[in-house]
C-alpha cells in the first residue's frame, strides 16, 4: 500500500484524466455517467484534504512531477488560493452530477452521451490543472485542454445556433490563449524560466530588466485572460455560448470556467509580476475598474431586455464577473476578500439558477419567457429554489450575495471612492429588475400551453438544486467558508505590498 497523502496534488488532475479515458472506452451513456459520478465525487475529498493540509502547514505545498527539480521540471503548487479554487471547482462539478443523467440523456444523442462525459471530465481536468500548476506553459496546455473540450460541450447543443456559438467561442478562445502564450513567451525570453515562482523571484532580484518587453508581456497576458474570463467588452462570445449549450454544459461552465480564468489572471498579476509592477507602474487597476463598472451596468441592461432566460442569466454572469474584477481592481484587503467571496457565492447562486432552468428545459423543452409563463405553480420546488437564488443574486441580506456586495462596498470605501459604492448598489438595482421579471413571469402569469403540462422536476435534479438554494441562504449567515478564506487569500496576495 503506497501512502497516497504526498501524491494528492497529482491525483487531483490525473483521476479525471484517467476517468475521461475510461468513459471514452465504455461508449455507454449510463455507465459513463456512473464512472463520471464516481470520479467527480472523489475529487472534492482530495481538494478538501489538500486544503486542510495547507491550512495545517501554513505554507504552500509543492509537488515535483516525476521528481524533476524546479525550474526545469513542472511543479504543482497548492496554497490557500489554489486550494480554495480546487475545492470550489471540484465541489461544483460533483454537486451537479446527479442532475446530469436525465438532462444529458434527454438532450444528447445516445451514441454521443459517452463522449459528452469524456469531454466533461477532460474539461474538469484542464480547469483543475490550471489551478494547481505552477508552470506558465503547463497552465497554457491545461487552458487549451479545458477550452477544446468546452467547445465540444457547447457544440453538442440541440439548438442550431449552438454550432455557431461554439465556433465563435473557439475563435475567440484561441485568440485569448494565443495572446496569453505570447505573453508567456516574452517572459521566457526575458527571464529564461517558465516556473511562476522562479519568474517572480528573478523579477524581484537585483538585476535590471528592460521595462518595455515586460510591460508588453503583462499587456498580452492581461488581455488574453480578460477574453477568457469575459471581461467587458470582450464578453460577446459568452451569452450565446451559455444560452445554446446543452443545459448541463451551461450549469458546469457558469460556475467554474470564468472563475478559473480570473484565478489565473490574479496569480499572474499578483504573484508573478507583483503588486508593485502591476498596479503602480501600469494602469491595470484603472482599466479593470472602468471595464468592471461598464460590465455591471451594460450587461445588466442587456439582461433586462432578454427574452431567453438562459441568455438573460448569461448577461447577468458578465455583470457579476464585473463585481469580481472590480474587487480585484481595488486591490485592497476588503475588495479582494469580497472578490473571492463572490467567486464562491456567485458560483453557488448561478449554478442553482441554471440548474433550475435546466430542469424547466427538461420538462418543457424551452427557456423562452413566453414558454416559462406560469411554470412556478407547476414546478413549485424548482422555481422556489430559483427565487431564492435570484434573491441572492440581487444581494439581499440573509443571502450569500449580500456578503460579497457588502465587502465590495467596504473595499470601495477603503479605496475612498463614494462613487464606486454608489455604483455597486445602483447596479444591483438593475438585477432587481431582471430577476423580478423572471419571478413575475414564472409565478404570477397564467400558465402557457407548454408550462400547463409540466410536472415537478425529477428528484435527481431537485436534490442538487435545493442543496445550492440552501447554500445560498447558509452562506448568507455563516461566512467562514467564503469571507474568512477570502480574507486569507487577500492577505496572501497583498503580502508583496509593502
Amino acid at each position: 500500500m503506497i501512502d497516497l497523502q504526498p501524491h494528492l496534488p497529482i491525483l487531483q488532475v490525473v483521476i479525471p484524466l484517467l476517468g475521461s479515458l475510461l468513459t471514452a472506452f465504455i461508449r455507454r451513456g449510463t455507465l459513463s455517467w456512473l464512472v463520471t459520478l464516481i470520479v467527480t465525487w472523489t475529487l472534492p475529498f482530495i481538494a478538501v484534504a489538500l486544503f486542510l493540509q495547507v491550512q495545517a502547514a501554513g505554507a504552500p505545498i509543492y509537488y515535483k512531477l516525476g521528481n524533476w527539480e524546479a525550474p526545469f521540471g513542472i511543479v504543482y503548487k497548492v496554497d490557500v488560493l489554489s486550494a480554495f479554487m480546487l475545492c470550489l471547482v471540484s465541489g461544483a462539478a460533483a454537486v451537479i452530477m446527479p442532475f446530469a443523467r436525465k438532462s444529458v440523456a434527454s438532450e444528447i444523442d445516445s451514441h454521443q452521451q459517452s463522449w459528452y462525459y469524456t469531454m466533461y471530465l477532460l474539461c474538469l481536468a484542464g480547469l483543475l490543472g490550471i489551478i494547481i500548476t505552477n508552470d506558465a506553459f503547463n497552465a497554457f496546455v491545461f487552458l487549451e485542454v479545458s477550452s477544446l473540450s468546452t467547445y465540444v460541450l457547447i457544440a453538442l447543443g440541440r439548438h442550431r445556433r449552438a454550432l455557431v456559438a461554439s465556433y465563435q467561442y473557439l475563435i475567440m478562445g484561441t485568440i485569448g490563449a494565443t495572446l496569453y502564450i505570447i505573453g508567456v513567451g516574452l517572459l521566457y525570453l526575458l527571464t529564461g524560466s517558465l516556473n511562476f515562482d522562479d519568474i517572480a523571484a528573478r523579477l524581484t532580484s537585483d538585476l535590471v530588466w528592460p521595462l518595455e518587453p515586460l510591460l508588453a508581456a503583462l499587456a498580452f497576458i492581461f488581455v488574453g485572460l480578460s477574453l477568457k474570463l469575459a471581461l467587458f467588452p470582450l464578453h460577446v462570445w459568452l451569452p450565446n455560448a451559455y444560452a445554446y449549450a446543452p443545459s448541463f454544459a451551461t450549469v458546469f461552465l457558469a460556475g467554474t470556467a470564468t472563475k478559473v480564468a480570473i484565478y489565473l489572471l490574479v496569480r499572474v498579476m499578483f504573484e508573478v509580476f507583483g503588486v508593485a509592477l502591476t498596479f503602480d507602474r501600469l494602469p491595470v487597476a484603472e482599466i479593470l475598474i472602468v471595464l468592471s463598472v461598464a460590465a455591471m451596468f451594460i450587461a445588466s441592461f442587456s439582461a433586462v431586455f432578454e427574452d431567453n432566460a438562459k441568455r438573460m442569466l448569461a448577461y447577468s454572469s458578465v455583470a457579476q464577473i464585473g463585481y469580481i474584477t472590480l474587487g480585484i481592481g481595488l486591490f485592497n484587503q476588503a475588495g479582494l476578500t469580497g472578490a473571492f467571496a463572490h467567486v464562491a457565492n456567485h458560483a453557488v447562486m448561478k449554478t442553482a439558477l441554471f440548474l433550475a432552468l435546466g430542469a424547466a428545459f427538461y420538462r418543457i423543452g424551452s427557456v423562452r419567457f413566453s414558454d416559462l409563463e406560469g411554470i412556478g405553480r407547476r414546478m413549485p420546488l424548482t422555481m422556489g429554489a430559483l427565487v431564492i437564488a435570484g434573491i441572492g443574486l440581487m444581494g439581499t441580506p440573509g443571502t450569500a450575495g449580500f456578503i460579497s456586495k457588502w465587502y465590495l462596498a467596504m473595499g470601495a470605501l477603503e479605496a475612498g471612492s463614494w462613487l464606486l459604492v454608489f455604483l455597486i448598489v445602483a447596479s444591483s438595482l438593475i438585477s432587481v429588475i431582471y430577476v423580478g421579471k423572471l419571478v413575475e413571469v414564472m409565478w404570477l402569469r397564467a400558465p402557457s400551453p407548454a408550462a400547463a403540462e409540466a410536472k415537478e422536476a425529477p428528484l435527481s435534479m431537485l436534490v442538487p438544486l435545493l442543496l445550492l438554494a440552501a447554500a445560498t441562504i447558509y452562506l448568507g449567515f455563516d461566512t467562514r467558508l467564503t469571507v474568512d478564506i477570502g480574507n486569507q487569500i487577500a492577505t496572501l496576495l497583498l503580502g508583496g505590498l509593502k
Binding site: 465563435q168 499587456a219 507602474r281 494602469p283 477603503e414 449567515f477
Partner: protein, 562 residues
C-alpha cells in the same frame, strides 16, 4: 433573566409565515394566523427593559433584540396588527399573501426591536421583498405596480446600505443611536428612510401601489412600511429640522390629492401620506413631548387606518367596487361596517374621546410649547383640512345617494376584527393613560381640558362646514370630466377649484414630462441593449477579434505612456 432566554419576537412571525404554505396543507392556517401574533406580543413584553440578544455576523455583533419603551410601543402595535389582520383575513383564499404578510409583519417587528444598523438594514430589505409579494397578490393590475414599488424600495435600500456602510467605515461602530446629518453617509441613511416614509419627491409610490393590493393586503401594507420608517426616524434622527418642511409637504400633498381623488382606497392611501407627515413634523420638532406625540400618533394611526381599510375592504369584497361614484347608501345593508367606518373616520379626524384626539394634541401641544408659531398655525390649518378627505370616505360609501347596492355585512371574523379596532379607537380616546404610560418619555399632558375640547370641536365644526359647502364640488369631482366653468361661478369652492386646475395642469405637465423622458430613456437603452442593440445582439466574430486587438493596443499604449 439571562439573555439566553430571549427569543426574537419578529422571527416567530417570519418563521410562521415561511412555514404557512406547508401548515395550510394540514389545515393549521387559522391556528397560525391567530396564535403566532399573540405569542409574538408575549415575547415583546417578557424581556425586561434594556435586555439584549446578540449574535456575531460578518465580524460585527448584531443586536437582534434591544428592548426599550419606544421599541415596545411599535412592536406591540405591529403584533396587534398581525393578530387583527390575520383574524380579518381568515377567509382570504390566497395563502401566499398571508404568508408574505406574516414575514412582512415579523420583519417590521424585528426592525423595531433591532439594536444596531446592520440588523435594521437586513430586516428592512426582507420587509421590502415580503411587502412586494403582498402587493403582487392583488391581481393583474397589481403586477406592474408591484414592480414599481419594488424598484423604489430597492433604491431606498441601496441608499440605506451605502449610508450604513459609510457610517460604519467612518465611525467604526454599528450602534443605532441618534444621529445628526453632518456627514454624507448619514444623509444617505436619512434619504433611504424617507423614501420608505413616503416623503417627497417619491411619495407617489404609496398611492400607486397600495390600492392595487387585495382587500386584505392593504390592511397589512398600511400598518408597517411607513410606520417602521417613522420608528427609525424617531430613533435615529430626532430633532432634525429639515424633517419639519418635509413633513408639511407630505401633509398638504396628502390632503390635496385625497380631496381630488374618487377612488376610496386611493383616498386612504393619500391619507396615509398626510398622517405620516404629522409624525415626521413631530420628529422634526424633536422635544420629548413631540417625540411622544409621534410615537402615539403612529400607534393610533395604525389602528384607525386599519379599521378604515377593513371597512372599505369589506365593501370591496362584497361589491367589487372602490369608486365613490359607484358606491353610496350602503349603511342600510351594512350597518356594522358603516358604524365602524364612522368611528375610524372620527378617530382620524381627532374627534374628542377618540384615539386621534389624544395623540395629535401631543404634537400641536409640543409645537405650541416650543413657541414655533408658524409650525403651530400650519398644523391647525392641516388639522382642519385633513377633515375633508376623512369624512369623504364614510359619507360617499355609506350615505349620500343610494347606489342601489345591498351587500351584506361581512362574516363574523371580519366583523370581530373591526369591532376590536373600534373598541381600541374609543378606548384609547377615553382612557389615554394606558397609551401615555407606554410612551418613551413621561407624559405631563392632560388632553381633556375644557378649552382644548372646545377648540378641537371648533376646528371640527369648521371642517364639517367646509365639507358641507364643498359637497357639491366634491361630488362633481366624482364624475370623470370636471365642469370647470360651473366651478368658477361658486365662490366657496373657487380656491379649491383653482388648486385643482393648477394641480391638475402641473401634474399633467409633470407626468407628461416624466413619461416622455422615461420613454426616451427606455428607447435609448433598448436601442443599445435590446436584442437588436449593439450590446444585445451577437457580434460577428471579426468584430470581436477587432475589439480584442483594440483593447490590446490600448493597454500597451497606456502602459508605455504611464
Amino acid at each position: 433573566m439571562t439573555t439566553s432566554l430571549i427569543i426574537p419576537p419578529g422571527l416567530v412571525l417570519i418563521l410562521g409565515g415561511l412555514l404557512m404554505p406547508l401548515l395550510a396543507r394540514v389545515g393549521l392556517r387559522s391556528l397560525v394566523l391567530i396564535v403566532l401574533p399573540v405569542v409574538t406580543l408575549w415575547l415583546v413584553w417578557t424581556p425586561p427593559l434594556g435586555a439584549t440578544l446578540t449574535t456575531p455576523f460578518l465580524g460585527f455583533e448584531l443586536i437582534l433584540v434591544q428592548t426599550s419603551e419606544l421599541a415596545r410601543v411599535f412592536a406591540t402595535v405591529f403584533s396587534l396588527m398581525g393578530f387583527l389582520g390575520g383574524l380579518f383575513a381568515l377567509r382570504q383564499q390566497n395563502t401566499l399573501e398571508l404568508a408574505a404578510a406574516f414575514v412582512y409583519a415579523g420583519s417590521a417587528i424585528s426592525v423595531a426591536m433591532a439594536g444596531d444598523l446592520i440588523t435594521v438594514f437586513i430586516f428592512w430589505e426582507v420587509m421590502a421583498i415580503a411587502s412586494t409579494v403582498v402587493i403582487w397578490c392583488g391581481g393583474a393590475k397589481a403586477r406592474p405596480a408591484g414592480m414599481r414599488y419594488a424598484a423604489i424600495h430597492m433604491l431606498g435600500g441601496a441608499l440605506l446600505m451605502a449610508g450604513i456602510a459609510g457610517e460604519i467605515a467612518a465611525t467604526g461602530s454599528t450602534a443605532f443611536t441618534a444621529m445628526d446629518t453632518s456627514t454624507v453617509p448619514r444623509m444617505l441613511i436619512l434619504a433611504g428612510i424617507l423614501i420608505n416614509a413616503g416623503a417627497p419627491p417619491l411619495s407617489a409610490w404609496l398611492p400607486d401601489a397600495y390600492p392595487e393590493s387585495s382587500w386584505t393586503g392593504m390592511v397589512f401594507l398600511s400598518a408597517f412600511t411607513t410606520k417602521v420608517a417613522v420608528f427609525v426616524l424617531l430613533r435615529g434622527f430626532p430633532g432634525t429640522e429639515i424633517l419639519i418642511p418635509i413633513g408639511f409637504v407630505m401633509v398638504f400633498y396628502g390632503i390635496i390629492y385625497a380631496i381630488l381623488e374618487n377612488d376610496v382606497r386611493r383616498i386612504l392611501a393619500y391619507s396615509i401620506v398626510n398622517q405620516v407627515g404629522f409624525m415626521v413634523i413631530a420628529i422634526g420638532i424633536g422635544t420629548e413631548m413631540a417625540l411622544n406625540g409621534a410615537a402615539a400618533h403612529a400607534f393610533v394611526h395604525i389602528i384607525y387606518k386599519a379599521l378604515l381599510l377593513m371597512a372599505t375592504g369589506s365593501v370591496l369584497l362584497a361589491t367589487g367596487k372602490r369608486k365613490c361614484t359607484e358606491l353610496g347608501g350602503l349603511f342600510r345593508s351594512m350597518p356594522l361596517t358603516a358604524v365602524c367606518c364612522i368611528i375610524g373616520a372620527l378617530s382620524i379626524s381627532a374627534f374628542p374621546w377618540t384615539s386621534g384626539f389624544i395623540a395629535k394634541s401631543l404634537i400641536s401641544g409640543a409645537a405650541a410649547k416650543e413657541h414655533m408659531e408658524t409650525v403651530y398655525l400650519l398644523l391647525v390649518v392641516a388639522s382642519a383640512g385633513v377633515l375633508l378627505p376623512d369624512i369623504k370616505v364614510p359619507w360617499f360609501v355609506f350615505f349620500h345617494k343610494d347606489s342601489g347596492l345591498r351587500p351584506k355585512d361581512p362574516p363574523w371574523n371580519m366583523g370581530l376584527a373591526m369591532i376590536i379596532l373600534s373598541i381600541f379607537c374609543v378606548g384609547i380616546g377615553v382612557f389615554p393613560a394606558a397609551l401615555y404610560g407606554m410612551l418613551p418619555y413621561p407624559v405631563d399632558y392632560e388632553p381633556y381640558t375644557p378649552d382644548h375640547i372646545v377648540y378641537q370641536l371648533q376646528l371640527l365644526l369648521f371642517g364639517a362646514l367646509a365639507f358641507y359647502l364643498t359637497l357639491g364640488w366634491l361630488k362633481q369631482t366624482n364624475t370623470i370630466t370636471l365642469d370647470v366653468d360651473w366651478l368658477w361661478r361658486r365662490p366657496g369652492p373657487a380656491i379649491a377649484a383653482f388648486l385643482d386646475r393648477f394641480a391638475g395642469y402641473t401634474w399633467e405637465w409633470f407626468v407628461d414630462l416624466v413619461t416622455a423622458t422615461a420613454m426616451r430613456l427606455y428607447r435609448l437603452v433598448h436601442s443599445h441593449h435590446g436584442p437588436q442593440g449593439i450590446f444585445g445582439r451577437t457580434w460577428p466574430t471579426g468584430t470581436m477579434a477587432f475589439w480584442t486587438t483594440v483593447m490590446l493596443g490600448a493597454v500597451v499604449i497606456m502602459s508605455y505612456f504611464q
